[in-house]
């Protein structure tokens, strides 16, 4: 296997030393089959142990390693150097405060996640005893796609409406709420809509669609949000006409 010398421009920021972030260059001999995360790991192991970033699984599933790679929100263990030019710029995910180097502060989204009530809500009967709910594959496949979100937050880094207004709940969390709304086992849809179709909820999305374009797991949050808007509009009429409880 051959190696290729790549130039990494990595954004650095140590709040105890620096007033503002700056770029540092590293030259890394990369193997052909590396992901950009491997190159960053190489830096950490062999060149500069002070570089701070998050990663764990190296298999596109833990969601830790989201960063901006040449301006695009990317999962670095899924972004291969074979697809990149010789110079690569690596920055922390946009739209989040930078804690240190490539590590961003995620408090805001974590709090929103709780707000969205991403768990099964039952109103009427309790679940069947000692037995699973019956659920058709048709229903499963309806929401399955939205369960694939690994919370990598790339979509938040891509969404300009979140950039402009941090009170917007944002793509991944809304997609997750929608996933529960359309799960046949759940009865919490109107409860969730009352929160998420309020001012800062789905309506702040102007369907830029960037979230879905960058999503490394093909979750398509943009679709979920639009569907939720339709649900929200229906629910509004239902409540106005006295049909639905609020």
């Amino acid at each position: 296997m051959s190696t290729r010398q790549m130039e990494l421009e990595v954004m650095r920021y140590d709040p105890e030393q620096d007033k503002a972030p700056y770029f540092q260059k590293y030259s890394v001999p990369c193997e052909d089959d590396w992901a950009i995360l491997d190159a960053i790991n190489y830096v950490k192991e062999n060149i500069d142990t002070t570089l701070a970033y998050r990663w764990s699984c190296h298999m596109m599933v833990c969601g830790s390693c989201g960063m901006m790679v040449n301006g695009e929100p990317s999962l670095t263990c899924k972004t291969f150097i074979r697809d990149l030019p010789d110079r690569v710029r690596i920055e922390p995910l946009e739209n989040f405060p930078i804690e240190r180097d490539l590590v961003v502060v995620l408090d805001d989204v974590m709090e929103k996640l709780r707000m969205a009530k991403p768990f099964i809500i039952r109103k009427d009967d309790p679940p069947p005893e000692d037995r699973e709910y019956t659920q058709s594959r048709a229903n499963l496949y309806k929401f399955k796609q939205y369960t694939m979100c690994i919370n990598c937050m790339c979509c938040y880094a891509a969404c300009p409406q979140y950039a402009l207004d941090k009170s917007f709940i944002g793509p991944a969390v809304l997609a997750l709420a929608h996933r529960y709304n359309i799960d046949s086992r759940d009865q919490g849809k109107s409860e969730r809509l009352n929160i998420l179709a309020d001012h800062d909820g789905v309506w702040e999305c102007s369907f830029v669609g960037a979230c879905s374009e960058v999503c490394p797991k093909s979750v398509d949050p943009a679709a979920a949000v639009q569907q939720m808007k339709i649900d929200g509009a229906k629910e509004w009429w239902k409540q106005k006409l006295g049909g639905g409880k609020s």
Binding site: T50, L51, S56, M60, C62, G63, E99, M110
Partner: protein
């Protein structure tokens, strides 16, 4: 340093820690739970599990059969009362998960689907395509969000346990984002910190699996049990060590050597079964230890395929067809295509055995209790005696749930009895001492040892001395090497002096834990002079029930190498027998 009081501290928010925290919050809302995790809960390595979770489902299956598979799969080193309890609770826990919204794959009639798995006589592995662990973890995490009594401390790195008079009293942790230290004081600590596969060079385990909990308990005087049993998974992607789930073979994938020959039939797992019609508990559906060992022999015979990443065999799934692969193994397809450039729909995929799971861990029992009152251990970090000498695939995820719930019940009762306590100056001083040590580690400079180098050497020596096959000479060399590395560790330099998100410091602390774990693995491997399950000795090739139907216990010594003691295995109904994977008697 700040002090936080809680009724129960849980270290680890993977499958086990989350299940336990939900149980406590649901049944004992008056108890305050502090859930500490060094990564956000959904980043925990449970998310990487692909294949599924075992629990009796079909009408033709029984708990008895699940019990027998587990015990023989574990080469009779299982504590049988633990296995009995486990199989009795398995299905119930998986149903509970379904009620919480887990997107299990479904049969035509809308019931949950099950798939075959290695070493299991019946189809009983519940799965969610090939992202079972991921969905389990996210379901648990999301479910946990509804309980206000679970207070989370995300990205807090637990460093050491606090204890007094032999009783556990809490844990010291560092908040990564600020570098501040906290002493969590509580009568109960539940250790759910996962495995330590990172002490080996080539592993399916994520970077966070550094055996921290095991090492913390070990340093606090609690023995580590059965550490010599480390599972190799037969089908890892070369280079990265990424796992291709056993589900690949469960669905009908076959393993061939460079001649296209299904070599497993030469290693007691034949006769050959027709391609595309996998037969349970034979050939490709034999247990992991046997399959990995067969690879080793093929490699010695020169029958493996040479690849840029070393010797491999081929996992052929082409006959499954694109539709089935997309439906049941989409992640496998994505991983194999992206990381080694082989699409399983069109090409056989090169694979090789890879370190996957630690059967051993903190000595605990059916209730998660350890020898130290107030300290509980669950999940992969614990060794309750469930997995014996070789874990069957898909028993571990279920164990997270079963042991998580059970230990939570016990721990809650214990915590209520112990009651809330005042600040204890003794405990505070103990915590201060830990912090002082860490601060000194951070300040010390001028040493020429690098964290990366020691880590690399540790990994190499452990693979050499405690790999698929072991012998006296190689293993004792490893023991010495690890001891030497522990000495050299004392002069490492942490170059990053910042307080904020200091991953250099974190890696230094993790390396300390890895070295402790590595040492117990090597020493226990040396002392077990027999071959059993995942522990295979070239110089003691037979199982020796007379002398070694026992758990090993590694105790830390104040200085020098650990002391190994032995503990009898609990046998209730199944006497040691022959592990038969020829498929003959089941027909």
């Amino acid at each position: 340093m700040e002090t936080i009081h809680a009724d129960i501290v849980i270290v680890g928010a993977g499958g086990a820690g989350l299940r336990a925290s939900i149980e406590i919050a649901q049944s004992n809302p008056e108890l305050k739970v502090a859930l500490i995790s060094k990564v956000y809960p959904m980043r925990s390595h449970t998310c990487a599990a692909e294949g599924g979770a075992a629990g009796v489902k079909g009408a033709d299956d029984s708990q008895e059969m699940h019990f027998n598979d587990t015990v023989s799969g574990g080469d009779w080193l299982c504590d049988q009362e633990v296995v009995e309890y486990f199989v009795s609770q398995a299905a119930r826990e998986l149903v509970q998960l379904e009620h919480w919204g887990c997107p299990w794959s479904r049969e035509d009639d809308g019931s949950v689907a099950v798939r075959p798995f290695g070493g299991m006589k019946k189809k009983r592995t519940w799965y969610a395509a090939d992202k079972s662990g991921f969905h389990i973890l996210h379901t648990l995490f999301q479910t946990s969000l509804q309980f206000p009594t679970i207070q989370r401390f995300d990205e807090f790195f637990a460093i050491d346990l606090l204890h007094k008079n032999g009783k556990c009293r809490g844990v010291v942790a560092m908040e990564m984002r600020s570098g501040r230290f906290f002493s969590f004081q509580a009568p109960v600590v539940i250790m759910a910190s996962g495995g330590g596969g990172q002490c080996f060079p080539f592993t399916t385990n994520g970077a966070i699996k550094t055996g921290d909990g095991m090492a913390m308990a070990y340093r606090a005087g609690v023995p580590l049990k059965d550490m010599e049993f480390v599972q190799y998974h037969p089908t890892g992607l070369p280079g990265t060590g990424i796992l291709l789930t056993e589900g690949c073979r469960g669905e009908g994938g076959i393993l061939v050597n460079k001649n296209g020959y299904r070599y497993l039939q030469d290693y007691g797992m034949g006769p050959e079964t027709p391609i595309g019609e996998p037969v349970l508990k034979t050939m490709e559906l034999g247990p992991r230890d046997r399959l990995s060992q067969a690879f080793w022999h093929e490699q010695k015979k020169g029958n493996t395929v040479e690849t840029p990443w070393g010797d491999c065999v081929l996992l052929d799934m082409r006959h499954l067809g694109e539709k089935k692969i997309n439906e049941r193994l989409p992640l496998v397809r994505e991983l194999a295509s992206s990381y080694v450039g082989h699409d399983p729909v069109t090409d056989p995929v090169p694979v090789r055995p890879v370190i996957h799971f630690m059967m051993g861990g903190i000595d605990s029992n059916i209730n998660g209790e350890t020898p130290m009152p107030g300290l509980y251990a669950i999940g992969e970090t614990a060794c309750s005696g469930l997995h014996g000498a070789n874990r069957l695939g898909s028993n571990s995820l279920t164990d997270l749930l079963v042991s998580g719930k059970r230990s939570a019940e016990r721990a809650a009762a214990y915590a209520k009895e112990a009651g809330q306590r005042e600040d204890d100056p003794f405990i505070t001083a103990q915590a201060e001492a830990v912090v002082t040590w860490v601060r000194e580690l951070l300040q010390q400079s001028g040493g020429d040892e690098s964290i990366a180098r020691i880590r690399r050497e540790m990994k190499t020596t452990l693979e050499e001395g405690a790999g698929i096959y072991r012998d006296e000479e190689g293993t004792s060399a490893s023991c010495q090497k690890v001891a030497e590395l522990r000495e050299r560790y004392k002069t490492i330099e942490v170059h990053d002096k910042s307080n904020v998100f200091n991953t250099d410091l974190q890696q230094a602390l993790e390396l300390r834990n890895l070295l402790d774990v590595a040492e117990t693995v090597a020493e226990a491997s040396l002392e077990r002079r027999e071959s059993r399950g995942a522990h295979q000795r070239l110089d003691y090739t037979e199982r020796d029930d007379e002398n070694f139907l026992k758990h090993s216990l590694a105790f830390r010594q104040a200085d020098g190498r650990p002391r190994i003691e032995w503990l009898d295995v609990t046998i209730t109904r199944s006497q040691p027998g022959v592990r038969d994977y020829s498929g003959s008697k089941d027909k």
